[in-house]
Symmetry: C2
């Protein structure tokens, strides 16, 4: 670990706080075709307070919560002369409560399923030691000798977002945009803990890909520059000669990352995140401090280019781009490299690194030419994953556009002929959909970009999302990369960016950093 960067990270620990949310609202889960995954909820009134063995109820906290659960467990008449055993099951969405966790099959380890069996020895306040992400809580009284009273269910919430800093959208804004913006902001706030977590239900990790979108969106919402700084320094502390930064890291109980976790596109997006950080914070000192780390990522990617000027991968180095099944990524990663070069050229100029800026611009021009020459398929009039199976994907087009290899009308034609064309691999994650929108905006297709946001993120809102999901493909609600929906994160950081688009390009917000 780099001790200097680690110290800087620690000096910039964000504060986590959050109010307390109480609930005594009991709901019933009901089959409902229109509800997300077919499970809806029906209010049943208030918690009746006195329970015996076998009783079970579901509480609705009214909003997605991240935090510590507490409640009061007391005797009704006779003292509790034996431990009381409870099962507590946490769900971000009704489907999780409705589905028996025993039915979990899939690739992710089931220790992520949020369910506890606890024993309470004495009446009084019970506070669970772990943090949960949930809106619905199922309580089952597994064993008690005497009737028990269960009251004062509360979540002591945690976030490093100061929600008071968020400006409301102006009166008269399209209600769907208001909803999308609000769900996006909630999603981001829930993921903002001591780092930008990817999902507060599962992983709790700081991934560069998510960080980039979170930091960008946060700049338009809560402006927690300290949190961005903390995360940038954490990654910087992990740098090793000749290696990419790790794609993700763990900050608890202390900074840790696994060797060989370098992800080419994520390493580049670290540099992009620093560029964004300077744009929004104008914090020259931190930017100069971290600039060498960003520069190193670009150099490592540059060194991977072959004699044709196209990126290749070293053994053990990986890429991400999107979760689409079977996706080949080299062409898209080439686009990420170009996108990064352009941002780095701007940053280098802004912070007085003229020479670097010149080199970045020269590399940008040359590499764009190589990319067009070698990766564009004139017959199909789209980019192709030439270096891997000649695969065609939307992802490749989007990143070639973002890399500036094609522009304007030509780019738009390429993009439109791929989107919704089954011959092309389609975007799956909200993360990738962000870059689709960004590509549209880059080539000036503002109206289409807005429609895309309304359709895609608006689709989740209309399906009842409180927070945006880890995976969403319209019309395919059961699609999962894990073999099981139970472990999806239903509040996932990389889905939060529509608030950035709305507030930067579509709605004028008072005191917005960009207006």
């Amino acid at each position: 670990m780099n001790a200097y960067y680690l110290k800087k990270a620690k000096d910039n620990m964000p504060d986590c706080a959050g109010g307390t949310r109480y609930s005594d609202d009991i709901v019933e889960l009901i089959a409902d075709e229109r509800a997300h995954l077919g499970v809806g909820v029906k209010p049943l009134g208030k918690n009746r307070e006195s329970f015996v063995t076998g009783d079970r109820f579901v509480l609705d906290f009214g909003e997605h919560c991240v935090g510590i659960l507490s409640f009061q467990l007391t005797h009704v008449q006779s003292y509790l002369d034996a431990p009381v055993c409870l099962r507590l099951k946490f769900g971000e969405i009704p489907y999780e409560i409705d589905t028996d966790f025993k039915n979990h099959r899939g690739e992710l380890i089931s220790s992520w399923l949020s369910e506890e069996i606890i024993y309470v020895d004495f009446p009084g306040k019970v506070t669970l030691p772990r943090r949960y992400a949930f809106r619905y809580l199922e309580v089952e009284i597994l064993k008690t000798r005497q009737p028990v009273k269960l009251t004062d269910f509360a979540v002591h919430k945690s976030t490093s977002a100061d929600e008071r800093k968020m400006q409301p959208l102006p009166a008269g804004t399209d209600p769907l945009l208001v909803s999308i913006d609000s769900v996006a902001a909630k999603t981001l706030a829930e993921c903002m803990q001591e780092v930008y977590e990817d999902g507060p239900k599962r992983d709790h990790r700081l991934w560069i890909g998510d960080l980039r979108l979170q930091a960008l969106t946060d700049s338009c919402l809560f402006q927690n520059h300290k949190l961005v700084k903390h995360c940038l320094y954490l990654f910087a502390a992990c740098q090793k000669d000749g290696q990419y930064l790790p794609g993700c890291l763990y900050d608890k109980p202390e900074l840790f990352y696994d060797e060989g976790m370098g992800i080419t596109d994520y390493a580049l997006l670290y540099a992009v995140t620093l560029c964004d950080y300077y744009t929004y914070s104008k914090d020259m000192e931190t930017t100069l401090d971290l600039y060498p780390v960003a520069k190193k990522q670009v150099e490592l990617a540059a060194s991977l280019h072959d004699e044709k000027g196209i990126i290749t991968f070293l053994d053990g180095w990986s890429s991400f781009i999107d979760w689409a099944e079977g996706l080949k990524t080299t062409t898209a990663v080439e686009g990420v490299y170009l996108y990064t070069l352009e941002k780095m050229a701007e940053l280098a100029e802004a912070i007085g690194k003229k020479e670097d800026a010149g080199e970045y611009r020269a590399a940008l021009q040359k590499t764009r030419e190589c990319a067009y020459k070698n990766l564009f398929d004139p017959q199909k009039n789209t980019f192709c994953n030439v270096y891997d199976n000649n695969q065609y994907s939307v992802q490749a087009q989007v990143w070639m556009i973002l890399g500036g290899v094609v522009e304007g009308e030509e780019a738009w034609t390429i993009l439109t002929q791929c989107l919704s064309n089954d011959d092309y691999i389609q975007p799956v994650t909200p993360y990738m959909h962000h870059y689709v929108v960004e590509a549209m905006i880059r080539i000036g297709r503002m109206e289409e970009a807005l429609d895309y946001i309304k359709n895609y993120w608006g689709g989740m809102v209309q399906a009842g999302a409180d927070t945006f999901w880890e995976v969403y493909v319209p019309g395919n609600p059961t699609l999962t990369p894990y073999g099981n929906l139970l472990l999806h994160s239903w509040c996932h950081a990389w889905s939060c960016s529509p608030a950035y688009f709305i507030r930067t390009y579509f709605v004028t917000v008072q005191n917005s950093p960009m207006h």
Copy 2:
């Protein structure tokens, strides 16, 4: 609650402390006919530290422990990127570890079984929130994505006994007596927490019957008079006009008792406990303070006597005496009343309550006569439970002897012809066996009393007991009042009294309070 007595109880809160016991000694459970309940242990060496899903091991802490468990859970190489799920099972004896808790059937609620399934989110020190009573700990790794290291298993022990105060038995003492004394002392120390608990594994409650034997034995071992005082005041705080003190109370999270929990013999033994307290502590102030409460218990029992001078029960008032199946108790309770009268007469004299002393002595003489006249069966030459089904029991004889209704050779003849005679209900609990020994000593049968101790408590020692058990009937190891052995308390307060007998009557110990 009586606020004055409650305040006095709080002012006399005992301190709980205790060292830390570490273990990395792995054992294997083995079938062993000679071992208690057929389950023995074989040492397997040291904990190997690195584990994967499905691994399981049993740690032996080398002694019975009451306290909080902690351990270190860390990654071996790759970071723990998902929660680790462990099953932890606690056993006072190997049989509990060997028996699947799922097989529990019986009358006591299974929430007393000490087993937890826990999830650990981050590597580091894990401290469980509950207190356990155990020597053996089984750990099973239910779910982990990466190998885990489990080390530094420790029990942070708790007791209010200061074991440094205990005098060793002199060199040359019969080794069996030394063992019995040592197991008894350990049993008592483990049950001495913020109150004299009946059993640290199950109940954790302060019962008057147990308290009497614990306080008496403690006076010869650790002399924690403050703890006796605390417990006496707690009961005093529960007194209500026209009602016995409750037979038991709960001290956590605050003083509580269930209405209608009066137990006639236990209420009387409260008075006896106060008499003992004065004998050992000579604390006149406390004794005078609590004397009215003791006196009230005697008055209530006196008022239950019918025109023949024999005790009867009011509806809803109960008795205990022993757990022997189908036992009828009125004759034995009559004996407890007489026993109490005698002790109270002595106390009243000692603290200057001459008039009371006279009344107690008069009542004692008159009631002894009534008892002999009405409860003795000359044909069988033993006492009979005349008021309930004419049942014959050892319990009735023992308490008539302790009540002074018969003495000397006559008493010895009565006792011997009942013990081991199947026509008489036999003692079951170590608690009742205490009073058998006390009866023998009262009539001067010292040698037989010592043999009885060696046979009865020595039998548990020879069966491998670390601490004395809740229930023990020689030759009938599977006898249970609960329908299941899993919920027996294997370290039970009312078994601790042989140390009192040994140190008071059989071995001269330096600085003993009675020598």
